[in-house]
Amino acid sequence: MKKRMISFLCGAVMMFSSCAADRSAKNDTPEIAPAPDFYPITEIKEGRKNIYFILKILEGSSYWDVIINGAKASGDLYDCNIYLSGSNVETDWQGQQRLLDDAEKAGADAVVLAPDDSVKLSEKIAEVHERGTPVILIDTIANTEEYDVCYMTDNLIAGQYAAKEMIAQLTAMGKQPNEYLQVGIQVGATTSLTISERLAGFLQYWTDNAPSDWEVINDIKCNDGDVEKAKKCAAELMDGYPDLCGVFGPNNGSSVGFASTVRERGRTDIAVIGFDYCDDLAALIDDSSYTASSILQRQYYMSIYATESALKIINGESPKKKFVDTGVIVINPETINTPEAQEALKNS
């Protein structure tokens, strides 16, 4: 009977608690490999300035590999020593906070940082900057004005370029302004600010410049970063909308989904505009029967410009602008052979 009473009381307490609390949340924190110590990625020579790069992801990301290549190249180009470290996941802002301290202690002449968290790292960035170490941001801006300059892609503008390219490609395909057609979009995530800004830029330009009969399908698909799901989303759009003449993928996975499905189905009547130069998109651009374009970021130059600026700031120069859009390059059959496009492709 006692046991029954105890279990009854426990049950009562649980019922009472569940009634009182509207909801409860459970957070599982995955284990994060700590950010490693700085290591040199260029030859270290006496008398040269020491630039410390702190990145978001050190290994396993082609995007960040290009930035690391740019950092290495910038050391040789501007004759300075480059040290590298960074977090292993984009959420480890505490790791970057420690690296900022470490860089200062190691006597960094300047720090180049791709902040994991624009808000949480702001205080530390300001501290380091106020103590006299030049801070150059790349890829992501911080929520403080206490830095010297930021080099990143203005994703709103990049999205506008994509919309401009879509209108140009549809026109090149012979679509008339008074001809009704539809454009489908799928995204990799609904919470990514980068993707959201590219999409906003696309929609803004499209609303202002596309013929009114050219409609963006309101049902924007989300593939959650899964390429298989991206292919499924692409198929759904192709099957569900007979007037579909163009598709836009504002991130790599979405572009892969669209490009591979269009190629698989031989849909030469659909223009594909994507981000990053994935193999499937490259194959469409190379095949003259398809209409496709890729918007390439210039992250390689974020590193190059950052090192260049760092050395100028060390020498007492002030940057004219605090925010510099490193821009994008549109790769299509017409532009692909230009020197600028070839250089961008070499560094992508």
Binding site: M5, T190, L203
Partner: protein, 543 residues
């Protein structure tokens, strides 16, 4: 079977455990009632909180959007006033006017400059770059009297900004424009409400493109960032999406304001839009989660819960204390009314009730009743005193209890007479127990140092037993049969036990008595006096 030390009370119907079970049942009912009451009360409080929040959030959203709209009007008014002042100067040279103007410094704006009638821009090189990048010159042409750009990220400070243009006249009527660039945080700071810090979300929304830019909100990371309402609305629960589309339709149709209530998972949001007069196609959208107003009410809810919890626990503790006291007193009273005070075995009255109860429930297994009498007890009292007699009674009772209470009820029926009603009719079991009783009784030591005669005295008993339902079908009959059997044992010289048989002459079974006859004779000698008097008469009287 559980060992019961108190005269076999488990068989008696006088069980104190029953009252505890009853108490626990009552307590459980009490707990359930309390729980239901508290649950209903909290559910009502929750409902009231939600209703209160829903009504109030719509009003707050409207007020915030009005506040933001007023702040944009205020900024527009400032630019217009400055433009009027500049127009009043009727400057012939706009460069000269710009040189004077750029000496004006304020923390409120980021940059300001002029555009002449030929679309020449009077600004720094970086500001001119911004004009080109964001097509600001095109927007300035709509300044009649004012126009405003979409928000954009400024290259000058890296922050999201917007530029306002106001028409001005110079050099005898030429038409130019004044431009002033403000940080978007200016709207954020105007819209800031301390009590709703980080709870109210404010966006500027373009109806045609579905683009939104956040001016204030929970996630500071996204402040000034662009997003698409087409993506954002995907989070809304499916059942609320038709309401969202209807709300958006009102915006598309150019209505000045409208409100909407929807759920994202379990959270309820109120969202309001109001048009921005000087930005055609643009709207201020304010969103507030209903729960943001609940803090005070939630504290009240937790206070009520805490108070109820304490009250509930105090009541339970008091009830338990009360029950324990009551049980103790009840047990005492029950013991007084059920047990014989000297021997702590059941008294005659209690035995009669319990025995009737027990026999009424018997069906197949049967029962047995033993009538026991301590041999020559009167002589013990007379010769060695009442204290010794009482000791004999206590120890004999204890032996009976130890041996029989696990299978029956034991009672002191009067004087030195004891009755045991057993929950079995098995002679083997009962005989074994009686043999053990014989041994235990012999071991009763009444030796008193002051009275050496006590050393030679050995206590013994006589017992007669009868079976239910074989010998009798009621208590009265059983008692009579047992007494008959006892009588025979006494006739045979005591210190033994025997079973009642229907035919006294032929089948009377007398077990164990012969072996004890010699010892009984010796006992008589030791005690002396009149010990041969039969108790048959007294027994029969009782019947």
């Amino acid at each position: 079977m559980k060992k019961e030390n108190n005269s076999g009370l488990a068989y008696s119907g006088f069980e104190p455990a029953k009252s505890t079970v009853s108490f626990l049942r009552t307590l459980t009912v009490f707990l359930i009632i309390c729980l239901i009451a508290v649950t209903v009360m909290i559910a009502l409080i929750n409902r009231l909180i939600k209703q209160h929040d829903k009504e109030l959030t719509a009003e707050i959203c409207s007020l915030v959007s009005e506040k933001v709209n007023n702040s944009i009007d205020h900024l527009t008014g400032s630019v217009e006033n400055l433009s009027s002042v500049l127009s009043a100067q009727n400057a012939s040279d706009l460069q000269q006017l710009y040189d004077e103007l750029k000496r004006t410094k304020s923390e409120k704006f980021i940059s300001l400059g002029l555009v002449d009638c030929d679309n020449n821009i009077y600004a720094t090189d970086t500001e001119i770059e911004e004009f080109e990048k964001w097509h600001l010159l095109e927007i300035s042409k709509f300044a009649d009297p004012v126009s405003i750009s979409s928000p954009y990220r400024s290259g000058l400070n890296g922050q999201p900004v917007f530029t306002m243009f106001s028409k001005l006249t110079y050099s005898g009527g030429k038409s130019g424009r004044l431009f002033v660039t403000y940080p978007l945080s200016e709207i954020q700071s105007i819209a800031y409400t301390a009590s709703l810090d980080n709870k109210v979300e404010i966006w500027l929304m373009n109806a045609a493109s579905n683009n939104i830019i956040q001016c204030a909100g929970v996630n500071k990371y996204s402040l000034g960032s662009w997003a698409s309402a087409l993506i954002q609305m995907k989070e809304i629960n499916e059942e609320d999406k038709p309401d969202y589309f209807s709300w958006k339709e009102k915006m598309n149709n150019g209505e000045d304001n409208a409100s909407l209530v929807y759920h994202i998972n379990k959270e309820l949001y109120t969202q309001v839009f109001s048009s921005i007069k000087i930005m055609k196609g643009w709207y201020i959208v304010v969103r507030l989660p209903s729960s943001s107003l609940s803090d005070t009410m939630v504290k009240f809810r937790y206070t009520v819960m805490g108070f109820s919890g304490v009250l509930f626990l105090a009541t339970v503790v008091l009830l338990i204390i009360y029950h324990r006291r009551e049980t103790k007193e009840k047990l005492l009273l029950e013991n007084l009314s059920i047990l014989d005070p000297l021997t702590s075995v059941m008294n005659r009255r209690a035995f009669d009730i319990s025995a009737e109860e027990l026999l009424s429930k018997k069906s197949r297994n049967g029962a047995a009743l033993i009538f026991l009498d301590i041999d020559y007890f009167k002589q013990v009292n007379d010769q060695y005193g009442h204290e010794t007699g009482d000791k004999v009674l206590r120890e004999f009772s204890a032996a009976l209890n130890d041996l029989f209470s696990d299978i029956g009820i034991v009672s002191r029926y009067g004087g030195d007479e004891f009755v045991v009603l057993l929950d079995t009719a098995s002679r083997d079991i009962i005989n074994e127990k009686l043999e053990q009783l014989t041994v235990r009784t012999k071991a009763i030591n009444i030796f008193d140092e002051d009275d050496p005669r006590t050393g030679s005295f050995r206590v013994s008993f006589s017992a007669g037993a009868a079976q239910y339902p074989r010998n009798a079908r009621d208590l009265k009959g059983l008692m009579a049969c047992s007494d008959d059997a006892l009588y025979i044992v006494k006739q045979k010289g005591r210190n033994g036990y025997g079973w009642y048989t229907d035919s006294k002459d032929k089948d009377y079974s007398y077990e164990g008595i012969k072996a004890a006859e010699d010892a009984a004779r010796a006992q008589k000698k030791n005690i002396g006096g009149k010990h041969s008097r039969s108790k048959k008469q007294s027994s029969k009287k009782k019947k």
